[in-house]
């Protein structure tokens, strides 16, 4: 199929910052022209730090906010002119739990299913099915108010699946989930995509984007600074980081001087982070090169590169404003 499930061109959005006097202050530009294209039945991850504009993008695509300029089509329908058709084709699970605290998990799901167009009996069956699937069967008849944060999040995610949407939006779906629930959600997302559903999710974790998605876009300062498969993105960055903890402050300073490409510095803990591909060969070579006598480095650890590491690589050489200098993410 050549028609995209999500297609956006030149989206811009700014908010008039409310001032104390009650009027509006200078507008805050959140999106400065975003192009996105997501093929049907794929998983697309939008990565970005706090305030990058991820939620704003999701809300525009889900027809909840109008863009200032640009066009977007979801499931083939224009988000401005055909918003009712878009809404019948999508589901949205926002960043913060959107279920009623004073209803039980089951009541919440049944209500959402009815609103999604299911009949009474179908809604009941669907609620039971989803409670089971999200490990909430025993808690289904308790008020959500009594749930733990993770359980709440799971009901919320289940509520996004009551209908049979063509396109699902998940805004930071794994925030607040323990590793077990996170994995279960990843499986669910994989299954949805295998069934032909398009999934658009946002995350702050490269690992998650890597694990889940077919394509990734990195949003920074209102523009997409990189877009491609996770492998392509990783090839632009080292992928992992080797953290070396040094025996003495003198050794720390000596090594800092020798490694201008280090992406992480922590003088207090005398720790230095260096890009690596994570292979044993490369780690061994680095250690041998930096500490031939084997006395300076007391500990080391290899991490998957964090979003910070990717950002440092992605945003450093460009002519645009570096991290922290833009105006977009100062609330």
């Amino acid at each position: 199929m050549s028609i995209a499930a999500i297609e956006a061109t030149g989206l811009t959005k700014s908010y008039g910052a409310p001032s104390r006097a009650g009027g509006t202050g200078p507008p805050v530009t959140v999106l400065r022209g975003i192009d996105l294209r997501v093929a049907p039945g794929t998983v697309f991850a939008l990565l970005g730090p706090n305030g990058a504009g991820k939620t704003t993008t999701v809300r525009i695509l889900a027809t909840l906010t109008e863009p200032d300029a640009g066009t977007a089509a979801v499931a083939g329908y224009d988000v401005r002119d055909e918003r009712h058709r878009v809404r019948r084709a999508i589901s949205l699970t926002g960043q913060f739990a959107a279920v009623d605290e004073a209803q039980t998990g089951r009541e919440n799901l049944r209500m959402m299913a009815r609103l999604a167009g299911l009949g009474r009996a179908a809604a009941r069956a669907r609620a039971a099915e989803l409670l089971d699937r999200f490990g909430l069967y025993g808690a289904g008849d308790r008020l959500v108010r009594t749930y733990s944060g993770g359980m709440r999040r799971r009901v919320d995610l289940a509520a996004g699946l009551v209908g049979e949407p063509e396109v699902i939006f998940l805004d930071e779906p794994t925030s607040g989930l323990d590793p077990h629930s996170r994995r279960a959600l990843w499986d669910t997302v994989g299954e949805l995509a295998a069934n032909g559903t398009t999934v658009f999710l946002t995350t702050q974790y490269l690992e998650e984007a890597d694990r889940l998605s077919d394509r990734v876009a990195v949003l920074h300062d209102g523009v997409i600074v990189a877009q491609g498969t996770a492998a392509e993105l990783k090839s632009r960055t080292a992928g992992h980081r080797l953290d070396l903890t040094l025996a003495t402050s003198a050794a720390y300073l000596r090594l800092t001087a020798r490694t201008p490409h280090a992406s992480h510095h922590d003088p207090g803990a005398r720790t230095l982070g260096l890009p690596t591909d994570g292979s044993a060969r490369h780690v061994r070579a680095l250690l041998d090169e930096l500490d031939p006598a084997g006395t300076d480095v007391t500990h080391f650890a290899v991490h998957t590169a964090t979003l910070d590491d990717v950002f440092l690589t992605l945003t450093a050489p460009g002519p645009g404003p570096g991290p922290g200098q833009g105006t977009a993410h100062h609330a």
Binding site: L64, R87, S91, A116, E191, N195
Partner: protein, 278 residues
């Protein structure tokens, strides 16, 4: 939209296919409104403190008016005071009951649930209508309680079944108008606490009217206000309908007021909703 015919894994496929949402928009809207009403009723049922206040306060007020003030005012009303004052207490109770609509609407706007409803193509009007209809249900329950208590302490209306029906219709129209007005206030308020402050204003409206004392006992300027404010025709209709006296034009004036307030509130709420969530 065409259904996707065969899905490889049944785990997430629907047990029943989604009914065609485009088939009949009217049924769709009706389902949404009923679903939202069921939700709001469940939410109010579980807001125990507010519910107790909404039910106990009117009953308490009835007792206070009848036993504390009744002796002093009763002689000037031409009937037993309990019979005179019941319509006023019913309106007070409508004021309290509807004002919690504002709090419920503000609570909704605080979280992400309105976004989710909108993404399911539920209109703002359906969301508000759910709160308003739940408010009507709550108020009718409180009304029934007050009436039962009133009967127990000597309220003896002489209305025919048709009179009762007419009285209840006027009361429901009043509750609908107040509740929708309250929903509009909920859209303006920035916090549930602020929305709750609105209770105060509405619950004072019945005092400068003929609810508790005949208006000819008031200073002239206050009587003028009382005679022309919306609560008075509502009270007069209830009183005359329940006591089987000729109601004159009062019910029509009352319905006109309620219809006007309702239409205005629905319109204003629609605009405020779009401004607030867009």
């Amino acid at each position: 939209m065409p259904d996707k015919p065969s899905r490889p894994s049944p785990a997430l496929a629907l047990t029943n296919p989604r009914t065609n949402a485009c088939a009949n928009p009217l049924t769709n809207v009706l389902t949404n409104v009923l679903t939202m009403t069921g939700r709001s009723i469940r939410l109010s049922r579980r807001n125990v403190d507010a519910l107790i206040t909404a039910l106990a306060l009117p009953a308490l007020l009835l007792l206070i008016f009848v036993y504390f003030f009744g002796g002093a005012i009763g002689g000037r009303t031409g009937t037993r005071y309990v019979t005179y004052v019941v319509p006023g207490v019913l309106l007070l109770c409508a004021g309290f009951g509807s004002s919690s609509t504002a709090v419920a609407v503000t609570e909704d706007l605080k979280g992400g649930i309105v976004d989710r409803f909108r993404s399911l193509d539920v209109s703002g009007t359906a969301i508000l209508a759910g709160h308003v209809l739940a408010s009507v249900a709550r108020n009718l329950l409180a009304t029934a309680l007050v009436l039962a208590l009133a009967f127990a302490i000597g309220f003896r209306p002489s209305a025919s079944p048709a009179g009762w029906l007419a009285a209840v219709s006027v009361l429901v129209a009043f509750i609908l108008a107040l509740s929708w007005l309250s929903a509009a206030v909920g859209l303006l308020a920035r916090s549930p606490e602020a929305a709750g402050g609105y209770t105060f204003f509405v619950s004072f409206l019945p005092y400068p009217s003929s609810a508790f004392v005949p208006t000819d006992t008031m200073p002239r300027w206050l009587a003028a206000f009382s005679d022309h404010q919306p609560v008075t025709p509502v009270i007069e209709s209830l009183r005359s309908l329940l006591l089987a006296q000729p109601p004159g034009t009062a019910p029509w004036v009352a319905l006109a007021w309620c219809g006007g307030i309702l239409a205005g509130a629905v319109g204003v709420a629609g605009v405020l909703f779009r401004r607030r969530v867009g």
